[in-house]
Symmetry: C2
Subunit: 424 residues, 2 copies
Amino acid sequence: MTNAVAELKAKGKAAKEASRKLAYLSTAVKNEALQNIAADLRAKTKEILVANKLDLKQAAANGVNKTMQDRLLLNKARLEGMAKDVLNVAALPDPVGEVFDMRTMPNGLLIGRKRVPLGVIGAMYESRPNVTVDIAVLCLKSGNAVILRGGKEAINSNLALAKLVQQAAVRAGVPEGAIQFVENTDRSLVDEMLKLNEYIDLMIPRGGETFVKFVVQNAAMPVIAGGIGVCHTYVDLMADIDKAVAIVYNAKVQKPSVCNALDTILVHKGIAKRFLPAVAKELAKAGVELHCDARSLSILKLKRGLKLKPATKEDWGKEFLALIAAVKMVDSLDEALEHITRYGSGHSEAIVTEDHTSGMRFLNEVDAACVYVNASTRFTDGAQFGLGAEVGISTQKMHARGPLGLKELTTYKWLILGNGQVRP
Amino acid sequence: MTNAVAELKAKGKAAKEASRKLAYLSTAVKNEALQNIAADLRAKTKEILVANKLDLKQAAANGVNKTMQDRLLLNKARLEGMAKDVLNVAALPDPVGEVFDMRTMPNGLLIGRKRVPLGVIGAMYESRPNVTVDIAVLCLKSGNAVILRGGKEAINSNLALAKLVQQAAVRAGVPEGAIQFVENTDRSLVDEMLKLNEYIDLMIPRGGETFVKFVVQNAAMPVIAGGIGVCHTYVDLMADIDKAVAIVYNAKVQKPSVCNALDTILVHKGIAKRFLPAVAKELAKAGVELHCDARSLSILKLKRGLKLKPATKEDWGKEFLALIAAVKMVDSLDEALEHITRYGSGHSEAIVTEDHTSGMRFLNEVDAACVYVNASTRFTDGAQFGLGAEVGISTQKMHARGPLGLKELTTYKWLILGNGQVRP
């Protein structure tokens, strides 16, 4: 066993031990820890920015592109934003300790479920250093220990932030070991970390599709995978055209690089001639390129100023993460539902319609984490859904679906309170 | 691809297709299907018993032991019991369709979660043919399609029962394909079934420890593993001796072959001299063998009529599934908690005490699916917990913990109802 692996296991063991105490740590201590973290983010700006400079310098030297450099960048404003986010989490209700479904059975046993933390959460993520603070804070508030492993581009920033978070937490009375940071950024450590099911109860991978799939296939512990969204918006025969244009525009343009952005527009044949030119004109203003099936192309091709391409079969079920949308005309709601069943990724799907029955059918029949009537899929987000914050968005069905807030980082145990009862 | 594999995939595809309709099938149709199943179990007794005779004959010819033969056996009384169990499930509330956490956000969006089925559940199990009906019925009521694969010893009984269930369900309007039975009992089909994550949303393995572990390690889909319980009962310094004796006796003796039966007795040193002789005397009447640590052995060795052995280190953390218990004296509640943390399997753990604070500490600090104060661990069971029925007992933390009832076979999706909202 190499030193790095031994060190990783030691971190796992320490996190597991801390998690036993964290499980019943008082809300007051947890909140004080979060307040300390926010205060330190404001007080220790200088040393964090010094560390961040090292990463930025390295990135520039390695010829990393500007977008990536911007993701790495910390400054006073961003640190202040992080501090505010931490205080927002402090203000959220503590999910731990709630007792529910409790009832007295005929034999007098009191039986119910108590919400408890999962234990130790592993998180692997890429370049943005604020993720170190985000995830540590959400795990802390939900009573979980955490083992963080960030990307190597941000290693100096992450180290500084992890140290800040650890010290601030311990100062409030959080057990030592509750927040672990893996300093070694060797790729081989990923494989080792995925084997640590003895210590890690849940792994959360954040990153590109290839990385997330690798983690799902290779982790010995449960994984919550997400972050991949092939999102459709279906414009029904009975859609209000103005709403449909606004919703599609927002879902595609407001932030095209994220998983809840629109990928494919489905439009009913009976409204396509009115809807498509209207939406295409708006989308063109934002520079959106449309990959159209034959029927939608025949409507749009005579319009001027549009970026059009014939759709290929690769366009269906593709997550563009860019100012591109696929467009398909369908004969019916049924055809739209079939298309979504076949090509959707179970993330976010929307219908635009004024018809009650079509809306209800869409809600019933689409099998996805988030199903919308007359709203933009861009709302799929923990804060927008009222969860306060999120560690990610799950597209799987077990445990939690959609935005993962504090409650989704917990489980329950059954409590059984008796007075000498035995089973007959 | 062999024919058997092609057939298995076809069953997976058919189940997935059926699951889309099952997801919003009315409670009335599902309950009618269950009533049909119960009626047919009563009406078709003869043909089921003919099929069962074939299995029994084969078992006898193969020299299968009597216990195993008894597990295979069906008769009129057992079929009537199965019919009643089905009607009990019909009488349970439908978990599907409940909408919860729904609220109006400041922007006017109505956002909430709706309980929906998981989709397709795979079940692999061993010899008892009633499991075919049990699992099919729980999946049907919870709106899930199911792919059943029973042991080869019960193949004729299982085939007859699966056919009965399928026909009774379709007669009520359940979509064809909702209940699939894998007729091929080749071991290689297990491996193939574990690869079908395209069609199967959750795999439930039932069987011995080796089999369950194999499924956990090799399944491409999520698995709910359970059925293994190393259960401790800690008799605290402040225990009521009569209650402690009754609880330990019940937990060990009432049904020693099951996962919620007691394995290890932990006893505080301050009460051991009074408690151990009292409990040992009772346990001896049932023929229980005690594997004692040095200190408990020194108390018990002078008593007559006891089956005693010195404990070895293999006794700690062992699931006996027999009339054997390990016994250990501890210096404190802390030592008991440490022992349980180290050797428990996260199933069911109990403390016997009249001291409020000790009870509260035990409830807080033991990390297990079910934590008891002053009651027998034998209560860990879906029916005993008021869930009506169970498909198994989960010892994992994700998704569901402890007895898995109808609700635990569901997930949720987010519903977002708007009026044209877009994200600012």
